[in-house]
């Protein structure tokens, strides 16, 4: 039993976020539990944002990966509570984001001023950056520009 549990978590490491492909769903912290009931594997996930369009794709990807590894009875369920927070993002995930050119969330979601955390530029590391738009290419990001190297970049919002 314990082995199956370990095996499933290992397989989940192979499933990536379709919108931020450097992150696995474990890096994102959206897998809440894996339940093994006889032959049935249940994976419980939580959405990042209420309207996140990636959730359906992620559910399908989890199912496909488990099928590939020979599991036949698969159930994917979704829970809303506790609400997802960027605090659940792994340190490894944050490192990968930065490498990919996206500034990782800067403070904890319960930080005093989550809105005004001006992120460092992921390209030249300058702290001198300006927000261009509160909302970016996906729900979880806003758009910034570096005032020194002038490059625009995405910032993964604290949530």
């Amino acid at each position: 039993m314990l082995d199956i549990d370990k095996q499933v978590w290992k397989i989940l490491e192979e499933v990536t976020d379709p919108e931020v492909p450097v992150l696995t769903i474990l890096d994102l912290g959206i897998v809440r539990a894996v339940l093994i009931n006889g032959k049935t594997i249940e994976v419980i996930i939580t959405p990042t944002y209420s309207g996140c369009p990636a959730m359906d794709v992620i559910s399908t990807a989890i199912r496909m990966k488990l099928l590939e590894h020979g599991f036949k009875y698969i159930k994917i369920s979704s829970v809303l509570s506790p609400a997802w927070t960027t605090d659940w993002m792994s340190e490894e995930g944050k490192r990968k984001l930065l490498e990919y050119g996206i500034a990782p969330p800067k403070t904890r979601s319960d930080g005093l001023n989550i809105f005004n955390a001006s992120p460092a530029c992921p390209h030249c590391k300058s702290g001198n950056t300006t927000m261009i738009s509160e909302f970016g290419s996906t729900a979880c990001k806003s758009l910034y520009q570096c005032n020194d190297c002038k490059e625009p970049f995405d910032y993964f919002k604290c949530h």
């Binding site: 209420s50 809303l80 927070t85 261009i132 738009s133």
Partner: protein
Amino acid sequence: MPPINLSTLQLINYTLHLADSTLILAQRNAEWCGHGPVLEQDIAITNISLDLLGQSRNFYQYAAALINQSTKQSETIASEDSLAYLRTEREFKNFLLVEQPNGDWGQTILRQFFFSAYQQLLYKKLKDSSDEQLAAIAIKSLKEVNYHVRWSREWIIRLGDGTEESRNRIVRAIQELWRYTGELFMPADYEEKAFTNGIGVNTSLLKNDWLAIINEVFEEATLSIPENIYMQSGGKEGIHTEHLGFILTDLQYMQRVYPGAKW
């Protein structure tokens, strides 16, 4: 539909009211897709639309589950899709405010600011609901709404304290939309039932806090709240302005013409 006991029916209506208001504003904002004044703001308003759509799906899924449980039939009769696509105008319980036309950017921004400021206060209370699912949706949604409030309030200030043109437009928007804000704080029967049961929020108690937020932002934007405007209401009971029918015509077209169509 077989008879449903009264308190469940009130909870279903309350949940549908929350779902409908978020869906209709999501639909209105989505009309901006590809038409925003600049790319970043086009993306912003459609991101907000997507958040609201997600919130409405959570409410509809819950309402559908309540309906299916309470009718105790073997087949499921309601789903998030049937509730969004197959109800008529008179069955929709959204605020009149959210169905108003987009108008210009000023009017869209003002409608969003009024609604987001309201949602923020509502969800801060609804998160303590005795109904676990409504509380969970509120906690999840509040994080998103905080960003919507911040974004729309900054735009109000930018437009009000901007050029003569931008100021004229936002003043016109206030004249147009203020009459739909009274309804936010007039509880319908199902809302009263919901808050006396510890499930819902007494929205009449949110009014002063909401006015304080509006006043603070208006002051910074050098704008003022209009006086002696008659407050329109009825949306929550299904009595809508002419606009809702047109929205539903767009929104429901595919399911009406090709019943059960799937992607």
